[in-house]
C-alpha cells in the first residue's frame, strides 16, 4: 500500500507514458538501458524530450539488463532497463535471473500488448509476469493508469530494500496512453513487506558470548556485506577483534586483500590457506554470505569444528544449507554496528601465526613461461592498478583467476556473475559500471567464449565512447569445461574447442583501438598501452591453451579432497621448454 502524502498536483492530465517518465525522474534515475519496440513506442516518445535521463540503446535486451546490473553493482543505486513486449521481454530473462541470484537491485520495465489483447496470442505478446515470477523478487502488471506512479515507487522500494533483487513492471500499451493526474507518492508503506534491519538483542548477546570464547575464529564474508555498504564496518570489526577474514567471490573487496588478516577467497577455487583455516576454525562468522555449494562443498563437513554465527538480511538463508548456532537476521551494516561496542580484541596471535605458516607453505601459484598465462595478465593488471579499478569478469577459468590473482582493496571493485554464472556478463556489465563510476577505470575481463556471447555491445560502447579496457583472455577453449573434462571425464574434450574471430580486426571494425599480445614479455607493454588510451580499447591476450585452476575442491567434496597445484614445472603444450618455466607465487594478505 502506498501512502499519498501530497495532494494530487493540479496540473494537466498526463498519459501513462508521461507519468512513467516523470516517475523515473522522481526516483532520480539518471540512466536507462533499453531497446524500443511497438509496445513501448509511446514511452519512447515521452522519453524523447527528457534531458534528465540518459538513454543507452544497447544492441540486445540481455545487454541492457546486464548493463543495469553493472551500474547497480558499481554504484549501489538501482539499475534500470526498459524493453518492449514479447521478444524484448523474453530477452531480459537471463539478466533478470542473474540479478536474482546475485541480489542486484534492478528494475526492469517491459512493454506489454494492450489489456484487451492479453491472452490472445497477440503480436509480440509474452506472459512476462508469469515467466519471471520465480526469478524476480516481485513483479507487477499495471492494469490501471491510476496505479502506475505508486507501482513504480513500490518497485524501486522492493528492489532496493531488504535483500535487494530484480523487480519487473509490465506496462500494457493502452495503459500508457490513458490519462490521469500525476501525483508521485512521497513514501511507501507495505503491510505485507517489512524487511528486518536491526539484529535481535538476544541473538546479538549470544554471538558476543561465542566471539569472546573463540580461539580460532574466522570471518566468512559474502556479497551481502558489499550490498549493505558495510565494508568499512566489517574492516573495523576485524581489526578490533583481530579475526582473520576470508571472502566469497562476491565478498571480494569488502576487506582489503593487502591486510595481514586477509586470506583471500574461500571455496571450490579458494586459497589453500583460507579453506584450511575454515576447516580448523572453532568459530565461523558468516557475514552476508549464504553457504553456497561452491563455498561449502559437502555441507556437513564444512567447518566441522566451528560454532557458527550467521548474519543475513534474508531469514530464508538461515539454516537453508548449513545449520547454524546463532542466526542473526538483519542488515549487515546495522548488525555490525550493534555488535561493535561489545566485542574486544581476541588473543588470536597463535592462530594468525599458524595461518601465516599455511600461507607460506601453500601460496597461490602458477607456472610462467614464454607463452602467456591468464594468471600473469591478471597479476600485472593488479600491480598496475593497485586495487584502484573496477574489475568486471565473465564466467569460467579466467573468472577464478581474476578472483585469485588480483588484490582487491575497495568494495564494489569486483563485479561478476556468481550465482547464475552467466557467460557474456562482463562486456555489458562493464559498460553499466563505467556509466556509474568516474573515479576508477573499468576493466572488462572475459574469456573468448563469454566474450562472443554479448559481443554486439561493442557497438554501444563505441557509440558512447564508454571508457572501458576490454581484455580477452583467449585460449580457444571453453576452459573451465575443458578442465573438468580433463580431470573428471578422461580428457574427452567434447565440444569445448572453439573458433573465434580476429579480435583486433573486430575492434577496428567497430572503431575501437585493438592490441594483441602472444608472448609473456609483451603483456605489460600492452596493458600500459591500454591505460594510455582514454576511450574504449580492446586487447586480446593469446594464452596457453591448457591450464587448470588450482587449488580445487571438486564439487560436493570436502576440504580433505583439496587438489593443490602439482609441483612439476610442466611446460605448456604450445612448445615451451620445461627449463624455461618459472613458478610464480602470490599470497593474499
Amino acid at each position: 500500500m502506498t501512502q499519498h502524502t501530497s495532494p494530487p498536483s493540479p496540473q494537466r492530465q498526463m498519459t501513462g507514458a508521461e507519468i512513467f517518465v516523470r516517475s523515473l525522474i522522481e526516483e532520480k534515475v539518471d540512466i536507462v538501458f533499453g531497446y524500443p519496440g511497438g509496445a513501448v513506442i509511446g514511452i519512447y516518445d515521452a522519453l524523447h524530450d527528457i534531458s534528465d535521463i540518459k538513454h543507452i540503446l544497447t544492441r540486445h535486451e540481455q545487454g541492457a539488463v546486464h548493463a543495469a546490473e553493472g551500474y547497480a553493482k558499481a554504484s549501489g543505486k538501482p539499475g534500470v532497463a526498459l524493453v518492449t513486449s514479447g521478444p524484448g521481454a523474453t530477452n531480459t530473462v537471463t539478466g533478470i535471473a542473474d540479478a536474482y541470484m546475485d541480489s542486484v537491485p534492478i528494475v526492469v520495465f517491459t512493454g506489454q500488448v494492450a489489456l484487451k489483447l492479453i491472452g490472445n496470442d497477440a503480436f509480440q505478446e509474452a506472459d512476462i509476469v508469469g515467466i519471471t515470477r520465480p526469478i524476480t523478487k516481485h513483479n507487477y502488471l499495471v492494469r490501471d493508469v491510476n496505479e502506475l506512479a505508486a507501482t513504480v515507487k513500490e518497485a524501486f522500494y522492493v528492489a532496493t530494500t531488504g535483500r535487494p533483487g530484480p523487480v519487473l513492471v509490465d506496462l500494457p500499451k493502452d495503459v500508457m496512453a490513458m490519462k490521469t493526474m500525476f501525483s508521485y507518492p512521497k513514501s511507501v508503506k507495505m503491510r505485507s513487506y517489512v524487511p528486518h534491519v536491526e539484529g535481535h538483542q538476544k541473538q546479538l548477546d549470544k554471538a558476543i558470548a561465542l566471539i569472546a570464547k573463540a580461539k580460532r575464529p574466522i570471518l566468512y564474508v559474502g556479497g551481502g556485506t558489499i550490498l549493505s555498504n558495510a565494508a568499512e564496518e566489517l574492516t573495523k570489526f576485524a581489526h578490533k577483534t583481530k579475526i582473520p577474514v576470508t571472502t566469497t567471490l562476491h565478498g571480494l573487496g569488502a576487506f582489503p586483500e593487502t591486510d595481514e588478516l586477509s586470506l583471500g577467497m574461500l571455496g571450490m577455487h579458494g586459497t589453500w590457506y583460507s579453506n584450511t583455516a575454515v576447516n580448523y576454525s572453532d568459530l565461523l562468522i558468516a557475514v552476508g554470505a549464504r553457504f553456497d555449494d561452491r563455498v561449502t562443498g559437502k555441507t556437513d563437513a564444512f567447518a566441522p569444528e566451528a560454532k557458527k554465527i550467521h548474519i543475513d538480511v534474508d531469514p530464508s538463508n538461515i539454516s537453508k544449507n548449513v545449520k547454524v548456532d546463532v542466526p542473526i537476521v538483519g542488515d549487515v551494516k546495522k548488525v555490525l554496528q550493534q555488535l561493535m561496542p561489545s566485542v574486544t580484541a581476541l588473543d588470536t596471535k597463535d592462530w594468525i601465526q599458524t595461518i601465516k605458516t599455511w600461507k607460506e607453505e601453500h601460496p597461490l601459484r602458477y607456472r610462467n613461461g614464454k607463452y602467456i598465462r591468464m594468471q600473469h595478465v591478471i597479476q600485472k593488471i593488479s600491480e598496475i592498478t593497485k586495487g584502484k579499478a573496477v574489475i568486471v569478469s565473465d564466467v569460467g577459468q579466467h573468472q577464478m583467476w581474476t578472483a585469485q590473482f588480483y588484490k582487491y582493496v575497495y568494495p564494489r571493485t569486483h563485479l561478476t556473475s556468481g550465482g547464475l554464472g552467466t557467460m557474456g556478463f562482463s562486456l555489458p556489465a562493464s559498460m553499466g559500471a563505467a556509466f556509474a563510476r568516474k573515479d576508477f577505470p573499468v576493466i572488462s575481463i572475459s574469456g573468448d567464449g563469454g566474450f562472443q556471447m554479448n559481443i554486439q555491445e561493442l557497438a554501444t560502447i563505441r557509440e558512447h565512447s564508454v571508457p572501458i579496457k576490454i581484455i580477452i583472455l583467449n585460449n580457444g577453449y571453453l576452459g573451465m569445461v575443458r578442465q573438468w573434462q580433463e580431470l573428471f571425464w578422461r580428457k574427452r574434450y567434447s565440444h569445448v574447442e572453439m573458433f573465434g574471430p580476429d579480435y583486433v580486426k573486430l575492434a577496428e571494425a567497430y572503431g575501437i583501438p585493438g592490441f594483441r599480445a602472444t608472448q609473456t614479455d609483451e603483456v605489460e607493454d600492452v596493458i600500459k598501452k591500454m591505460f594510455a588510451i582514454d576511450g574504449p580499447v580492446l586487447a586480446e591476450f593469446k594464452v596457453v591453451k591448457e591450464d587448470n585452476v588450482y587449488p580445487m575442491i571438486p564439487a560436493g567434496q570436502t576440504y580433505h579432497e583439496i587438489i593443490d597445484m602439482p609441483e612439476e614445472k610442466t611446460a605448456s603444450t604450445d612448445g615451451e621448454k620445461e627449463s624455461d618455466i618459472e613458478m610464480v607465487t602470490i599470497t593474499k594478505g
Binding site: 515470477r133 520465480p134 516481485h138 502488471l141 492494469r143 522492493v158 505485507s192 530464508s316 537453508k320
Partner: protein, 175 residues
C-alpha cells in the same frame, strides 16, 4: 488442488497444515503454487478464498516434510512480497474441514447399504437418479478419506474434493 506425487510418510516427515494470509492480488495463488513447484516441496492440498477483509485472502496448505523443509517452506512463504502472515497450525489445536462430493453408481440392491454408510458418517445424499447417488461429506480430511474408503467397494464414478480449510481453535478447556 492435489499433488499426485505424494512423498511416502516416514519417521522424519510429518504432515503440516499451514494457514497463510495474503494480499488479495492478481496472481497470488500462482506465486505460492509456483514457489512450491520451483523448490520441489510437496503440496498435498491448497485452497484459497476471501476472508472477512476483502483485501485479504486466506490460503490453507497441507504439505509434508521434515523439520528443516517445513522451516524453509514457512520462510519462503514469508518471503513472498504479498504475504501478510504465515501460521503453522500443526502444533496448535485447530479445526480442519474438507468437503467431498462422491458420485456412486447404484443398483436397486445396494442403494440402502450406501445410505447406511452415509448415515453413519453424518453425510448427505444431495442427488439421486435411477443409476446414481451423489453424497456430500464434510469433515476432517481423515473422515473424508474414511467414507471414500467405505464407499470404494461400490462403483465410485466421480469424486470432487475441496482440499482442506483450517482455523486455529480458540476454546482451550476440556471437551
Amino acid at each position: 488442488m492435489s499433488n499426485s506425487t505424494e512423498i511416502p510418510a516416514d519417521e522424519t516427515t510429518h504432515k503440516h497444515t499451514i494457514s497463510v494470509l495474503l494480499e488479495n492480488k492478481f496472481g497470488a495463488l500462482n506465486r505460492v503454487a509456483g514457489m512450491f513447484s520451483a523448490k520441489g516441496y510437496n503440496l498435498e492440498s491448497i485452497t484459497v478464498g476471501p476472508t472477512e477483509d476483502i483485501s485479504i485472502s486466506r490460503m490453507t496448505i497441507v504439505t509434508r516434510g521434515d523439520d528443516a523443509i517445513i522451516e524453509q517452506i514457512i520462510k519462503q512463504l514469508n518471503k513472498l512480497i504479498d504475504t501478510l502472515k504465515v501460521v503453522d497450525l500443526t502444533y496448535d489445536s485447530f479445526m480442519e474441514r474438507e468437503l467431498a462430493l462422491i458420485k456412486i453408481g447404484t443398483t436397486p440392491d445396494n442403494r440402502s447399504e450406501i445410505m447406511q454408510i452415509v448415515e453413519i458418517f453424518h453425510a448427505k445424499i444431495i442427488d439421486i437418479s435411477h443409476k446414481t447417488v451423489t453424497v456430500e461429506s464434510t469433515g476432517s480430511g481423515q473422515k473424508v478419506d474414511a467414507i471414500i474408503k467405505m464407499l470404494k467397494p461400490f462403483h465410485i464414478k466421480e469424486i470432487a474434493r475441496t482440499g482442506r480449510v483450517a482455523l486455529k481453535r480458540e476454546f482451550v478447556g476440556e471437551v
